[in-house]
Amino acid sequence: MKDGPRRTWWLRLYVAGQTPKSITALANLKRLCEGHFPGRYRIEVVDLVKQPHLARRDEIVVIPTLVRKLPPPIRKIVGDLSNEERVLVGLGVLPRERGE
């Protein structure tokens, strides 16, 4: 998928409290967005410890989970987002490798 200049990214990160993995994931996400979509992204953090009912509604099992709300379709990336290349694949910025 091409990342056109006007494309807006709405990303929601599900975490469970201030755990190391959650903190790492958010830091990784911010850095990635600044690097790839400066000024065109919005990050929303959902803490399931505070809003546990959202786990079922939004079908969350793994923590952290990053959900690409926009652009459609919805995509899910799990993990602390330390592997930037995989995150970009998951977001659709980079093409998926063969066999994936």
């Binding site: 599900y14 469970a16 755990t19 993995k21 790492t24 994931a25 990784n28 399931l48 410890v49 546990p52 009912h53 786990a55 079922r56 079908e59 969350i60 099992v61 793994v62 923590i63 952290p64 989970t65 995509r75 899910k76 990336i77 799990v78 993990g79 602390d80 987002l81 330390s82 592997n83 930037e84 995989r86 995150v87 694949v89 998951g90």
Partner: protein, 524 residues
Amino acid sequence: MTATVRRRKPEPMKPAGNGSRPARGPLAKAPTGIAGLDEITNGGLPRGRPTLVCGGAGCGKTLLAMEFLVRGALEYNEPGVFMSFEETADDLVENARSLGFDLQRLSARRRLLLDYVRVERTELTEAGEYDLEGLFIRLGHAIDSIGAKRVVLDTIELLFSGLSDRFVVRAELARLFRWLKTKRVTAIVTGEREAGHLTRHGLEEYVSDCVILLDQRVMEQSATRRLRILKYRGSAHGGNETPFLIDDHGVSVLPITSLGLAHQATTAHLSTGIAGLDAMFGRKGYFRGNTVLVSGTAGTGKSSLAAHFAEATCRRGERCLYFAFEESPSEITRNMRSIGIDLEPWMHRDLLRVHAQRPTALGLEAHLVAMHRLIDDWQPRVVVVDPVTNMIAVGSETEVKAMLARLIDFMKLRQITALFTSLTEGGGAAERSDLGVSSLMDVWMLLGNLEANGERNRAIQIVKARGMAHSNQVREFVMTDRGITLVDVSRRADGSVAIGSTRGVQQKQAPAGDAKPSRRRRVE
């Protein structure tokens, strides 16, 4: 009392239940409400702990787990959470409807919460370290939101195919089972059985308190389901396979409950319906709660003897349930009327019910369950099964015997007197052709023909009658238009019993000479 403890080599992994384990308080149990399962588990599943239910595809583990929740919600005021990793909530609702359970209604009343957890590898990109805290929060919230006391995880092993990091999944599952205990929920965790292993990913390592194995196999053209308690920590359990059934009433497990021990023996007598036969039992008849086997070759009068007993039951104003596996109700009434036993009035007064069914119409377990239900619904005092041998058409001999043991046990617990007829094949010894079930019976009678002097005469003998004085004679009987009548014993000078026309000879004081029949009579 530790003064006399002997020194022994340390024995790791001592099996439970051998008496050497120090007695702890009795394990708290949560009744499943599933027919028969609470009997073989002595009260249910370990309360507040997870139980592993494993088996191959289609073995019934999802339905068993679902019934555990439904019964918990309906009968024990214990709401439940069903977390499904396999079937969607809609599918679960649909499947449960076939068992007569309305999951939507239970959900609306907040007695049940269905949550379909979908983890598809193709829909997730993994990018870094993760854990399953989301699952914990989701399950925890579900439990708290309805005050759940029961949880089902079906089949949580699917997480292994949804996520690539097996080490994380294993560690998180171990944590999940520990966490479930802290939540004090009674849980069923299902696992898919794989060749050589109980579950594909070794769930049995984490669930150590109770393991139940389900199995479905096809034997002699009919599918039979079996349940076995593989492990139940701190609780005695029979390691035997127990048949079970899934039908529109849910799951029914058919146990043998400590046969012959739990039920109370009575000393009340019931007339056999035949005066002469009562006399052979010390003028009284059978004990109430006895199981009576009547064996004989074709046409020896087994059904007539059963009909006499049925009629005598109705005459006392008691209910008799007659399972007919060979004849229709109208055939039975017609045939019995020909020997002067009119059963029809008793049917009209609803003291006699004849339940006719071809044995092959149902599988063996289905028969047993159907009989249990009919007996439970109508509460007869006497049950006749005529003939029990037709069950052979449905199952193997060992299966039939096991089924009969269950049926007898079931009736004994209810103090129901039962009469089984058994068709034996001519030529063989009766003892051999009686399914080996005679050992289960309290009373065993043989009907046969005595052949002598070019005559064939009917005869009856009591082979055994537990706890009763009974005649050891082989007695001749005749079929009259007033039913079975035992013929008075007529003795010859040498003390032998005269039968048939020799009776007349005897009465004329004819010389015993050449008309003397062999002392060793055989009942065919």
